[in-house]
Symmetry: C2
Subunit: 366 residues, 2 copies
């Protein structure tokens, strides 16, 4: 398909950073949580190398924060996730699939606890606020649910710690992975977490004052000039090489967490009130699919996303990209489990590929 | 802002019609309910004249149908809407705002009743299925909720009845507005309703077999050649001229239906169990805003969407477009009600505009 224009309207919300993103020469967007998410500035590949070698600033305002406050907050959030949240630490980010009463994945957010009666759900692309509101209303819970006035800005890449330290000070290097500190910028305190949707290292700054957006952006670029700082966004090449899942792409509400390799985030034996646990206990050993990697030694162009063995359809390509670093075509595929034990060669468009575990182990693939 | 590319992925779902849409030369998309919605093929203005003079075929698969089945279906749907649905007729479409317990608008779908235990919610752009699932779970209702395997195709324009009759037969002209019939195409029965997101007249065909999508598209184009049939999509010029609301643009969950002029769809006095009615009864005479029209005699280019009087901000432009037919710049504005009684001249960027009722009355404006 040739490139198409995105028709932008109020419904595809701009962010407090959009003017700077535009000035930085953004070429593509996607729409994520009803908001503009920049996808590339130079090209996917040039952006990839910049991310892996230097440092990038990403407008990820679309990572909306669903704020849940009130005495029943923790109960509501525990109902929504099969991960035991009882030992969450204040200021910690917790990757936690949200699952419904059938065990289906509704979203895979980061949960952030500020107090037992004050949480953020940092969501992937689905209207989790509506689900939470429906549950709260139906169960009669005492909570307030709103989309918080927060616009995250990610700083990602090997030089991210240097850059964020220059702007937010000496406490930055001491922040551990998925932990945060409240740090000051222009007199305002905002949360800075070591996190982000890449495996190149970095931070997410939870901007809480839209009037500071452009100053923050400008300061990062001024302080990062010698670090080759660039504008960027979640990069398809890097995220697939790194095996980072994308809700809506690799899995959706037709899948359960065991099909996505998320077993580690499901506390099947916990004595918690989580609406999906009864279903998940039954699904544990009976789910039919598994998300795996698929590797081709040449660049592929797909007309058909079905993966076959002996003309039987055994899997479905969910995401895929050419890796310039490894010179392989990488895909994430929802495969029938039955097949996985039998064979590791499959074909697509008559080309032979190899099944691989996720995340990809490139030492083994060489 | 210069045009930007839409980065398309599995998450921005293609539809069964996408190959034909692409072959027809689509130039722009938006993302609506996580799905591609074609926005223009030639230009907004050329598409507008084609829609108003001839007939267009629109891929509106993104009008997802949330199917609610089971003994508590009608109860759940009535909980979600303040419109009394008790007298809905089988096969009828019912425009019905969905509102939460605070009276906020969650969506403004068309409800379609097949039986008291079988409904479709034909949704605007928000994940209503999640809200419905949360409510059903919390209230313990006996319902099944799923996104139905339905991909609506709209045929719109003054020649739409002729074209749809050629493809679906003699029963088509007898279908009244927002009523439907089950009609046959290639041996499959599908719902054909007189409806659609324009005021040029037309039908929506609720395709229920994706394998027939391209045959249906091709048949409409083959039978419509002498009618100048073209591919199109919801047209910004036509929908604003016609005063059709767009959820997410003109209003969102920060508004109540009285602010959007939807009073006629709220049955304040009905003895029904609808979760928003208590709040709406209080809001009826106290809502602070009203969505109105705004008319300028010259084309405008906005940097700032604030509407002012004497340097006070009194309104917020939600949608706007140049009307080539009326040679006016038209906007839909969420205005402070206090101001509306005082004056009908406002300014934006130092240009003077006139407040108008919605839908616009172009005879009065001339």
């Amino acid at each position: 398909m040739a490139d198409k224009i995105l028709s932008i309207s109020r419904r595809t919300h701009a962010t407090p950073f959009t003017r700077r993103v535009e000035a930085a020469g953004v070429k593509g967007y996607t729409v994520y949580n009803h908001m503009l998410l920049p996808t590339f500035f130079d090209s996917n590949e040039a952006d990839y190398w910049s991310l892996c070698q230097d440092v990038q600033v990403w407008d990820v305002s679309c990572e909306r924060q669903i704020e849940v406050c009130g005495p029943d907050s923790e109960r509501l959030i525990q109902l929504m996730t099969p991960r035991d949240i009882s030992r969450a630490v204040i200021g910690q980010g917790l990757y936690a699939p949200l699952c419904d009463e059938h065990g289906a994945i509704i979203n895979d957010p980061i949960l952030i606890k500020f107090a037992s009666d004050h949480w953020w759900i940092s969501i992937a692309d689905s209207d989790v606020d509506l689900w939470a509101r429906g549950l709260a209303q139906g169960y009669g819970l005492e909570v307030k649910i709103r989309e918080a006035k927060i616009w995250p800005l990610a700083v990602q890449g090997p030089k991210a710690e240097t850059l964020v330290s220059r702007v937010f000070g000496d406490e930055v290097p001491g922040i551990r992975f998925f932990r945060s500190k409240m740090l000051e910028f222009c007199g305002a305190e905002m949360m800075v977490m070591r996190s982000g949707y890449s495996k190149q290292g970095g931070f997410e700054i939870y901007l809480n004052d839209p009037d500071l957006a452009e100053s923050l952006w400008d300061e990062l670029f001024a302080q990062g000039e010698d670090l080759n700082v660039r504008a960027g966004g979640p990069n398809l090449i890097e995220r697939i090489e790194s095996g980072l899942l994308s809700y809506g792409n690799d899995m959706d509400s037709s899948h359960n967490p065991f099909e996505c390799g998320l077993d580690a985030f499901i506390d099947l034996d916990a004595e918690i009130e989580s609406m999906s646990l009864p279903a998940l206990r039954k699904l544990k050993d009976s789910s039919q699919h598994l998300l795996v990697g698929l590797v081709f030694n040449e660049a592929m162009s797909f007309d058909d996303f079905s993966v076959t063995v002996d003309d039987r359809i055994v899997g479905d390509i969910r995401s895929q990209v050419w890796s310039p670093r490894y010179q392989k075509h990488l895909a994430m595929v929802m495969m029938k489990r039955d097949f996985l034990s039998l064979n590791s060669n499959v074909s697509i468009n008559a080309k032979i590929g190899n099944i691989a575990d996720l995340p990809f182990d490139f030492n083994a693939l060489r």
